[in-house]
């Protein structure tokens, strides 16, 4: 445990220097980026440190490995304990038996309750982490959706141009129709006026003619003398006689 702390403190001593610098009171250039190679950012460890037999850190075994191989640390442990116990440097008195009982209790408790508690805590951590991740993801999704909606709105706005053209055409058609309608109206009005003139002229001619005919007839009638009239009648009788069938 302390070895791991020692290792970690070496790693962390440097980033602390970097962390201390931004709190200086002089005017520093705050835009300098962090040197990631020499002062790497500290990563959060997700798994607890590797241990053997529950409490011995893996680093101690690695420390022994290069010199004494795999069985080295175990031999060292067994040898050390045997030495301490046999030479009575470590006296097995009442504390030892208490320690033994605690050890038995601890092993039992860890084996029995450990996984249960670990699972419960992991689930809680998952919930917390999940809620943060979910919030971030939902924000990203929301923003992406907003981008899509914006693009769609832009596309719709472009479509408005076609609508403008259609509307323009529509208006032009309407104008044309109105123009033609007015043209027809003008034509009909003018025709009406001309027809009127024609009619009045016709009527005038007709009346003149009738009047003239009447005048001529009246004059002819008036100029017929009685002698002419009698001669005409006589001629008519003679013609009739001539036409009548030769009977009788």
């Amino acid at each position: 445990m302390l070895s791991r702390l020692a290792l970690r403190s070496v790693q962390e001593a440097r980033p602390f220097l970097v962390a201390v610098r931004p709190t200086s009171t002089t005017a520093v250039n705050k835009a300098t980026e962090r040197d990631e190679v020499n002062f790497p950012r500290r990563a959060r460890p997700v798994e607890p440190g590797k241990v053997r037999m529950g409490f011995l850190p893996e680093e101690w075994f690695q420390f022994f490995y290069s010199k004494t191989g795999v069985t080295g640390p175990y031999m060292f442990g067994v040898g050390l304990t045997t030495f301490l116990c046999s030479k009575e440097i470590y006296v097995m008195e009442h504390e030892f038996y208490t320690g033994l009982s605690i050890f038995v209790m601890a092993v039992y408790a860890i084996k029995k309750l450990g996984p249960g508690i670990a699972n419960y805590l992991d689930k809680e951590i998952e919930d917390i982490e999940g809620s943060w991740v979910k919030y971030r993801q939902e924000s990203v999704e929301g923003l992406k959706q907003a981008i899509e909606d914006e693009k769609k709105a832009q596309w719709e706005a472009e479509g408005q141009k076609i609508l403008f053209d259609a509307k323009r055409e529509n208006v032009a058609l309407q104008l044309e129709a109105a123009y033609r309608e007015r043209l027809a109206t003008v034509h009909s009005e003018v025709k009406k006026r001309l027809d009127y003139q024609l009619e009045t002229a016709n009527v005038k001619t007709r009346i003149e003619q009738k009047h003239m005919v009447n005048w001529i007839v009246n004059n002819v009638k008036a100029s017929i003398t009685p002698a002419q009239e009698a001669a005409a009648l006589k001629q008519c009788f003679a013609d009739l006689k001539g036409l009548a069938p030769q009977s009788a």
Binding site: H94, Y97, T98, I102, D122, I128
Partner: protein, 224 residues
């Protein structure tokens, strides 16, 4: 080697004339989780759950009067629980089994509450000396009894904690000291007995620290 039955409580295991065994008081600090990361780890989450539960408990006891007072009592609880619990481990000195330690925790708290209460809320403190619903004739005696119970409060707090710790350790020590002279089968019985005692002791450790913290909370809430 035990010179006498109580030598296990002897706080004079000194190196260079410095009583280093009292450093076990700060051993609990090694167990506090490092809350550097925003995302909790298993132990930091467990610790946060425990302390937040305690905070809720103490908040209801204290009422909504003073925001942040629960901090003192929760930290008191954690100090005492770590000391009690780690004292059960072999070769770790139980500092809370000494009256010097427990009185040093209880007495300043009580004196502070009393001084604050009597100076600032004198009427209120006098009113507390007579419980609600006492018949008129009994009132003088009630005042006397309440005063005495008030005065012995630091003593009870301190002695309760120390005595519980001493009792448990004494039993374990007694059982354990017969260990070197036992045969193999009897040792297994000894281990079983000690396991049962240790379960009791672990419970007592946690409970006593909780009781200490809750009672000091109650005394604090009485004063306001």
């Amino acid at each position: 080697m035990m010179t006498n039955l109580f030598s296990v409580f002897d706080p004079t295991s000194s190196v260079l004339m410095l009583p280093l065994n009292w450093m076990s008081t700060f051993l609990g600090m090694m167990f506090l989780p490092m809350l550097y990361w925003a995302m909790p780890s298993r132990w930091s989450l467990l610790w946060t759950l425990i302390t937040s539960t305690l905070h809720k408990e103490f908040k209801t006891l204290l009422g909504s009067s003073h925001f942040g007072t629960t901090l003192m009592f929760v930290s008191l609880f954690s100090l005492i629980v770590f000391n009690n619990f780690l004292g059960l481990l072999p070769y770790v000195f139980t500092s809370t089994s000494h009256l010097t330690m427990t009185l040093a925790l209880a007495l300043p708290l009580w004196v502070a509450f009393m001084m604050f209460g009597w100076i600032n809320h004198t009427q209120h403190m006098f009113a507390h000396l007579v419980p609600q619903g006492t018949p008129g004739a009994l009132m003088p005696f009630m005042v006397l009894i309440e005063t005495i119970s008030n005065v012995i409060r630091p003593g009870t707090l301190a002695v309760r904690l120390a005595a519980n710790m001493i009792a448990g350790h004494l039993l374990l020590t007694l059982l354990g000291s017969t260990g070197p002279s036992l045969s193999a089968t009897l040792i297994s019985m000894l281990i079983i007995g000690q396991i049962l005692l240790l379960i009791l002791e672990a419970a007592v450790a946690v409970i006593q620290s909780y009781v200490f913290a809750v009672l000091s909370t109650l005394y604090a809430s009485e004063v306001t």
